[in-house]
Symmetry: C2
Subunit: 457 residues, 2 copies
Amino acid sequence: MKSFSKFLSRLKDILGENKVFTQPKDLIAYSFDSSAAIGVPLAVVFPERKEEVVDVLKLIAEYKIPLVPRGAGTATTGSAVSHTQGLILSFERMNRILELNLEERIVVVQPGVLNGELKNYLKKFGLFYPPDPASYNYSTIGGNVATGAGGPRGLKYGTTKDYVLALEVGLPGGKIFWTGPLTLKGVVGYNLTPLFVGSEGTLGVFTEIVLKVVPLPETRVLLLSYHEKEEEPLEIISELLKALITPASAEFIDKTTLLALSKNKQIELHDKKVKSLLFLELDGTVESVKKELKKVEELYQMKGIFYHKADTEEKIESLWEIRRAVSPSVRVLGERKISDDVVLPRRNMKEFLKKIRKLEEEKGIYVCCFGHAGDGNFHVNLLFSSEKEEEAKSLRKAILKEVLNLKGTLSGEHGIGYVKRSFVAWELTPLQLELMRGLKKVFDPENLLNPEIKIPF
Amino acid sequence: MKSFSKFLSRLKDILGENKVFTQPKDLIAYSFDSSAAIGVPLAVVFPERKEEVVDVLKLIAEYKIPLVPRGAGTATTGSAVSHTQGLILSFERMNRILELNLEERIVVVQPGVLNGELKNYLKKFGLFYPPDPASYNYSTIGGNVATGAGGPRGLKYGTTKDYVLALEVGLPGGKIFWTGPLTLKGVVGYNLTPLFVGSEGTLGVFTEIVLKVVPLPETRVLLLSYHEKEEEPLEIISELLKALITPASAEFIDKTTLLALSKNKQIELHDKKVKSLLFLELDGTVESVKKELKKVEELYQMKGIFYHKADTEEKIESLWEIRRAVSPSVRVLGERKISDDVVLPRRNMKEFLKKIRKLEEEKGIYVCCFGHAGDGNFHVNLLFSSEKEEEAKSLRKAILKEVLNLKGTLSGEHGIGYVKRSFVAWELTPLQLELMRGLKKVFDPENLLNPEIKIPF
Ligand SMILES: Cc1cc2nc3c(=O)[nH]c(=O)nc-3n(C[C@H](O)[C@H](O)[C@H](O)COP(=O)(O)OP(=O)(O)OC[C@H]3O[C@@H](n4cnc5c(N)ncnc54)[C@H](O)[C@@H]3O)c2cc1C
Ligand SMILES: Cc1cc2nc3c(=O)[nH]c(=O)nc-3n(C[C@H](O)[C@H](O)[C@H](O)COP(=O)(O)OP(=O)(O)OC[C@H]3O[C@@H](n4cnc5c(N)ncnc54)[C@H](O)[C@@H]3O)c2cc1C
């Protein structure tokens, strides 16, 4: 405790009082993220320049104080929380867009820039940063990179990993380096950049981020279709991909999620036979969208599928509102919730859905299974009353086992953090784990960066 | 030597005589790649199944015999050669396409499949594996992944790293693992896959490769333009990118390379004022290509640029023949050649070219500077007579220093291998090198995999 107080006073000396918060009310405010995990930190610091981050990294190494980098704290896994009474390093005040280079199509940002702010900024130049987590208006690029965030556009545009050109990274002790050159290509040394994408603050602290950006598509159109056969949307996605059409997004709403949406009055179903929905967005040039749309509409007509079409920005956004209402709406099905974001190989999605429905019926617990079906990413939410807690936990395990049986993975975009760490060894082999622990040691040998999360030690 | 012969006899026991070559004539055949580096191996083995690769990996660990994995041996850096009297593990007989999944758009291959074979196979399904090293008809996917191979299409489509979904990797001792799940997304554990792309056989041996593929573009058109101002093509590329047009390829032929092409009768220049060429390919849907073409032609007309247009497969390929004739043609400028493949940030390409021309004039040594200008990748070839060897070597160093001054990188796609290893520490900081050595130790602690290359130890 003595060294704690010495550490804090050194911290204040270096950063100045107004960048170091130690009041209980502030510590409480930074003791949670969007998960149920809670951990009260020793202090929260708000550096404003990378030199200050380096100073903090020196100090934590000297005092062996664990550190958790933090963006907006929207993580759903407890990865933005200090579980070992450490320091929270918040990037809230490092939130500037530093440089846009139009001929290289790269943008350089500080980690605390919000994804939505960047999107708005780029729009003025006809450019576009595709990764679009639902939290984009309030999550940071630093957090997005550290979690490998994805979103509906993943199907056509990939996820955060596909847009990170290089990272400047600080390590405990204050060493700082770039993960790669700022050129569009390069094979000198090993390719370190992608190792940090999805590393959840356990390998290094990003101090600057270089992203690739792409031209905004000319136009887009959104179809919302209604299906009597629950698995039909999954079949349609496969058919389109086989027909060499790549939708920008293909979002699936299953039977149970649809029940939640209609109970919550987000959607009114006149036809009681409807069991699922598909949000299908096409984008590109005016002509290519027209052509693809024609094929999709022909398919829908052939199959007798009813759908709405939105072709103005306003109508499109109002349909997407329904999709965005899913997360809050599922709450109507039960006071307690357990959520996962699993990924299946596309070919196994139908079988997974069938298993889910069977398990749901057996256990009498609501299982929502919606999400980015285009790239195989299902958000599985269990909704139940508190007395069903134990049953729900065991159902969840059964579902995760099923994911692995079907050659899936336990997280597609939310990460592992604290709350899912105990399942990691179900998926990864002892050899994979041993190698990953080896990697962690290369960058953070004393386990000071976000300890207790990501990889089971 | 005794343990060598014991090792060899164990090898033959395990694999059978016909998969182990030890005759001098065979060893000589495998003692070089496409660089000047030479090294005679102890033996060459030709496994036919991954279990045999694992057996070999067990044996080399037991006998501490260094191993060099090898595809087609087209590497230009000495990375496919044994520099320490070790074993060559050739993937020539592991050359099958194992599975194509159309709804996931992934293809599973053995490492010895030729890039060109894969391209032909995919074409039948309307699909396309974009990375296109000039060697695509005779280099292997395993070698392409291990070098991070690129090509003209890099500008729009990226390089090999953008298409590797997962790798099965064997380590000395025979341990074998997948670098990630076979799903399109996933953030469980660390993202190991990209670490192996460009690792030049120093971190692990690939036994199976899963690649992403994309739909073939509907159509393409190629413009070959002639420029009186040498740097004009570089300006045009920047202008197009700023105007939100992304050509599929933008290949630059500088003044000195043009001299070589015309001396070698690959091209006949009626207009002696022409100083450089640009090969600009547009691809996509019929309409989008039409639209982009219109903009490009307007730009060319406005600038008074003369050009040829090819819009049938036949004409396009015959124009590309000129581009492909570059590498052999530059030889007419001198009996000796030193080649590099450096990358500059796009914004610094013009300045680099100016420096090159100045150095060329000062030293009286031909410097060709052509290549994938779209993504900043210049192939710099020095051509000279043998008595100028020393001057050429010092000129090369001056050029590499200039690349680093202008924030470039020393290799964009060919790799480091043996012949460029001494320059790596010019580019990478001691910290970067230390971290990379740490990574190497995680996977290959005894330095048995392709020792003596890639990272200076
Ligand atoms: C309503 C809602 C919807 C969501 N929808 C999606 C979705 O569609 N897709 C999706 O992928 N996620 C989604 N999420 C989860 C979350 O928003 C993402 O994981 C996001 O990327 C976290 O960003 P953040 O700035 O909030 O980071 P934080 O929560 O603060 O931190 C997340 C992780 O990043 C690390 N980190 C943060 N900054 C840095 C840095 N500079 N250097 C190193 N490490 C750092 C932290 O240590 C932590 O491990 C959603 C969350 C909510 C609440
Ligand atoms: C005429 C010509 C043109 C070229 N044009 C280009 C070009 O445009 N772009 C470009 O990028 N390159 C080009 N190259 C270089 C070369 O073709 C590429 O580097 C290619 O990727 C090498 O493939 P390969 O099968 O010949 O591999 P090899 O030369 O056999 O090996 C290359 C490296 O890969 C490793 N390796 C091979 N297989 C495996 C495996 N299964 N597991 C682990 N490691 C493995 C080897 O150890 C070695 O380090 C060219 C070469 C020539 C001769």
